[in-house]
């Protein structure tokens, strides 16, 4: 099991947080407590943990949406505090859990907003912007929906439209906060398949927060498990997802299963730690 803290590395390329602490308000306790994390480049990384463990906060912190209490975040060898907002927005895209599009906004208009960081003051859209928007619409497979208002789409299509907006941003890094939470299983797979395609074909580094451990196991290359603002375990799904770690992170008893090919790993939660259910004795 890999639960030792990551060394504070400042590699030439890559994104890492060094002894990062974050709190929302001066009177409130730390949400992230002096944690170091190195995001593997060109991989899909999932942050997992129970509610309130700080995984979303960590994601937003790495994406520069929150102010650091202490520590630093290094992107491709530079402290992100030294980058301008636009420089950062051209390297890292982030999609939040809840997104509300203004009434009547079409899919195409939404995706064009992704070009915000690439345009200069008062400049209109260039051929480059148009190409980026077209390729984002095609990648997310929503080109046929471009003229529909975002509000009229199904939840799954809406999520794809927002991902397309982040794609039009043309960033090396893509951060997503619980992109599958409100979706039915088919759309969960659709979104995750899209993310895998972006990773495998375009080499994007993807970091996401997920609640569903099986999706995390199936799609991610590396996992960070958080609890109470600390990274408790990290490594490949095989390393992290075992009964002991799940007990420590989530307070659950779970069985780890594999499919016949041995490629996919499944977590089957059977109860809370200490709850006297017949399954726990299995």
């Amino acid at each position: 099991m890999n639960c030792k803290p990551h060394p504070a590395v400042t590699t030439e390329s890559g994104l890492c947080g060094v002894r990062v602490s974050v709190r929302y308000d001066r009177d409130l306790p730390l949400i992230i407590d002096g944690q170091s994390i190195a995001i593997p480049v060109g991989k899909i990384t999932a942050l997992i943990g129970p509610n309130g463990s700080g995984k979303s906060t960590l994601l937003k912190t790495l994406a520069r949406q929150l102010t650091l209490e202490s520590g630093q975040i290094v992107l491709d060898g530079r402290d992100i505090a030294t980058l301008t907002r636009l420089q950062f927005a051209r390297r890292v895209g982030i999609l939040f859990q809840e997104n509300v599009a203004p009434a009547g906004l079409t899919v195409e208009d939404l995706v064009y907003h992704g070009r915000y960081g690439h345009r200069r003051l008062f400049e209109s859209f260039t051929a480059e912007d148009q190409a980026a928007v077209e390729s984002a619409l095609l990648l997310a497979d929503i080109a046929h929906l471009r003229h529909l208002p975002v509000g009229q789409l199904s939840a799954g299509q809406r999520q794809l439209a927002w991902i397309a907006m982040a794609l039009a941003q043309e960033t090396q890094y893509l951060f997503l906060d619980e992109p599958t939470t409100f979706l039915d299983p088919a759309h969960q797979f659709e979104v995750m398949d899209l993310l895998r395609k972006l990773n495998r074909e375009l080499g994007k580094t993807i970091v996401l927060v997920v609640h569903d451990l099986n999706l995390a196991a199936r799609y991610s290359d590396s996992l960070f498990a958080l609890r109470e603002g600390r990274i408790i375990a990290s490594g490949s799904p095989d390393d992290v997802l075992d009964a002991a770690t799940l007990r420590r992170v989530f307070d659950i008893e779970a069985r780890i299963l594999r499919d016949e090919s041995g490629r996919f790993l499944f977590c089957l939660p059977v109860g809370r730690v200490g709850a006297a259910s017949p399954e726990t004795s299995l």
Partner: protein
């Protein structure tokens, strides 16, 4: 294709606004205590003695500038032409500017607060600007040219106070409106207090009609006063439509796209305050125009600001010029302040909105 549909709706809205505004303007020019037939009014409007560069410089830049440029003496004009060009037409033009300013200001405020209840009036900006103008008029008389600046100062102070009151880990539409009501009430009370402190009755009467929002007595001087601010706010508004659109996605999303949200919001607020305050300096407190025009235009052309602001630029003037026709002619020979007309009809429209839609507020 909805985009093309929206564009057609915008073209239709602009065409309708132009026709309505032109008809109302012609009524305003033709009707009144000095009676003239419609072809007499038309002849006065197209009087070749007026359509000369030197006369236009005189009207738009003032006598002083004309004197400095050593322009030839203004040609003698007949009575109808004088009444049309010196009394009735400048009032229409001032109404056009005020309508455009209020509508543009309202749509910017609605975008930056993501709140369809926002307007210069409900956010306290108009009241703050009004208080500053009244102070300038009654307590320490200043040059008329400084009135818009005094109004902007008052509007800015009021807006900052409203924001500070409403701020509690972010703002909500209802909190902002309540804070606006608070500041509006205080500014209104102070305005009334100034009436009692004023020395003579005519000042009080002027001030009273002004707080109700009136275009009575506006002439070329007022047009000259507001034109530069109208041009500036229209240019700034139309060139920042992309920022307004991205702000509607919400602060986190806008910031993730690389926007410095606080700075952009501050600059846009400054533009909206400039537009609303200069209108207040000229016409007093005309309510509901800044709330309702963006609302109507949005339902017709959608929330994309390049369409919304353009639509407001035509619909705002049309609405105000029509309202001013009613204010001036409905109870002739008595003129009522146009703010009373917009208040009655705007309030009714607001009521209709509240009844029709269960959830009102967030954009």
């Amino acid at each position: 294709m909805p985009t093309a549909h929206r564009r057609h709706a915008l073209a239709g809205l602009i065409a309708c606004s132009l026709v309505v505004a032109a008809l109302a303007a012609f009524m305003q020019v033709m009707l009144g205590s000095y009676e003239m037939t419609w072809h007499r009014a038309w002849a006065a409007l197209t009087d070749p003695n007026v359509w000369q560069p030197s006369v236009w410089v005189r009207l738009l830049c003032g006598e002083a500038t004309a004197g400095m440029l050593h322009l030839p003496e203004a040609p003698a004009l007949d009575t109808a032409t004088l009444i049309v060009w010196n009394v009735r037409l400048p009032r229409v033009l001032a109404g056009v500017m005020v309508g455009a300013n209020l509508a543009v200001s309202g749509s910017i405020f609605q975008a930056i607060t993501r709140n369809e209840l926002a307007s210069p009036y409900l956010l306290g900006v108009s009241s703050g600007a009004g208080l500053a103008v009244l102070l300038a008029l009654t307590v320490c008389p200043v040059f008329a040219a400084f009135l818009p600046l005094a109004a902007m100062l008052g509007g800015t102070v009021a807006f900052l106070m409203v924001y500070a009151i409403a701020w509690h880990h972010g703002t909500s539409p209802v909190r902002l409106v309540l804070a606006g009501v608070i500041i509006g009430a205080i500014a209104g009370a102070l305005q009334t207090m100034l009436f009692f402190l004023a020395k003579d009755l005519s000042t009080v009467q002027n001030a009273l009609s002004w707080t109700a929002g009136s275009l009575t007595g506006t002439g070329w001087q007022q047009v000259r006063l507001i034109v530069p601010w109208t041009l500036a706010s229209v240019v700034l508004g139309l060139s920042s439509t992309r920022y307004l659109d991205v702000l509607l996605l919400g602060d986190p999303a806008a910031s993730a796209l690389g926007m410095n949200v606080e700075r952009v919001r501050f600059l846009l607020a400054a533009t909206a305050i400039m537009a609303a305050s200069s209108a207040v300096a000229v016409s007093g407190l005309i309510g509901f125009v800044g709330l309702i025009v963006p609302h109507i235009v949005r339902t017709m052309v959608g929330s994309a600001h390049r369409h919304l602001l353009l639509g407001c630029l035509f619909a705002g003037p049309a609405l105000l010029v029509v309202a001013d026709v009613a204010a001036r002619l409905a109870f002739a020979p008595v003129q009522i302040p146009v703010g009373i007309v917009t208040g009655v009809f705007g309030g009714g429209f607001f009521l209709y909105l509240m009844r029709r839609r269960r959830e009102l507020g967030k954009l």
